[in-house]
Amino acid sequence: MRESILELLYGIPLGTFQVSKELPYDETGVALYTRNPKTIYVDFEVEESLPLFITLDRADINTTTSSVAVYFSTDAKQIPPNLNAMITAIKGLKMQISDPGANRREVVHSTEYVGDLLTITVEFRFTRIT
C-alpha cells in the first residue's frame, strides 16, 4: 500500500512540493517533514485485525484495517496557492491505491502548527476481510 501511494503521488501535480521515499523519522527530535518543508513523506503501513464474526469453533474471520499516513509541511506565513488543490488530489488517490479486496476505503486529513510551519497529515485507512 505504501509503495502504491508513493507511485501515485508522482503522478499528481505537486507544484513546488516534492516526494521523498524516506520514512518520516525523527532526526534529533525533529520529524523530517518539519525539518524539510514542502517534502512529502509516506509512513510505514500499520495493520489492526479485529474479529468480525466470533464462532463456536473459533473460525478465523477478521476485519483487518491497514493505515498509511502521508505527512508534509509548509510555511504557514506563505501558503502555496496550490495547497488545497494538492490536498484534494492526494485524498483523491483513495480509489486508485492498490489494495485488492478492500471493502471500505477511508481518508482523513488533519493539520497542526509546529512553530511557523503548517503540518498536514493525510491518513488512508483500508479495511478488508481476512
Binding site: 468480525l52 464462532t55 463456536l56 474471520i61 476481510i129
Partner: protein, 158 residues
C-alpha cells in the same frame, strides 16, 4: 456442579453440530462449521380449562414443538455440498441441498464439555432444515445465514 462449558476451538470440548441423512444408515455425518449461536427450542403446548370448583385456570402440557435455531457463517463446501441436490449423504447434499430436497436429516448436537472435566451431553433427533436466508452486506462482506432444524418427534439426550 457441572456447568456446561464449551471452549471454542478445543476438540471434544467445543459445541458441535453434526448432521446426516436420516434414511441413509451409512452416512457418517458432516460437521457444520462456523456456527455463531445455537438455540434449542422445546416449546410445549398447553391445554387450559376452567372448572366451577376452581378459582384458577387449570393447565396440562401437551405436545411439544421442537427446533434448533442457529446462525452460521457460510462455508462453501458444507453449505452447497460436494454434489448438491440429489446427493446421498449430508456432505454431498450440503445444507442448501438438504433444504431444497426437503431431506429428513438426523442431527447430533454436542453441547460441550463440563467444567468438572466430565463429558458433556448430546442432543439428538431428526428433522428438516428450514429458514435459510443467506445475506451479505458491504460493511461485512461475508455471507451469513440463519438456519432452523425443525425437529420431527422427540429429542434424545445421551
Amino acid at each position: 456442579m457441572a456447568y456446561i462449558y464449551p471452549a471454542p476451538g478445543v476438540s471434544n470440548v467445543e459445541t458441535t453440530l453434526t448432521i446426516s441423512v436420516a434414511s441413509n444408515g451409512s452416512d457418517t455425518g458432516t460437521a457444520i462449521p462456523a456456527l455463531q449461536d445455537i438455540t434449542v427450542n422445546a416449546a410445549n403446548d398447553v391445554f387450559t380449562w376452567t372448572q366451577l370448583d376452581q378459582g384458577s385456570k387449570l393447565q396440562i402440557a401437551t405436545t411439544a414443538t421442537n427446533s434448533l435455531g442457529m446462525n452460521l457463517v457460510l462455508d462453501g463446501t458444507t453449505f452447497f455440498g460436494t454434489v448438491g441436490s440429489g446427493g446421498a449423504t449430508a456432505a454431498e447434499l450440503g445444507i442448501f441441498g438438504a433444504s431444497t430436497d426437503k431431506t429428513k436429516i438426523a442431527f447430533d448436537l454436542y453441547l460441550g464439555d463440563n467444567d468438572d472435566g466430565t463429558a458433556g451431553k448430546t442432543l439428538s433427533g431428526e428433522g428438516y432444515i428450514t429458514g435459510l436466508a443467506p445475506t451479505v452486506s458491504a460493511d461485512a462482506p461475508v455471507w451469513v445465514s440463519p438456519i432452523t432444524i425443525t425437529v420431527d418427534g422427540d429429542y434424545t439426550v445421551a
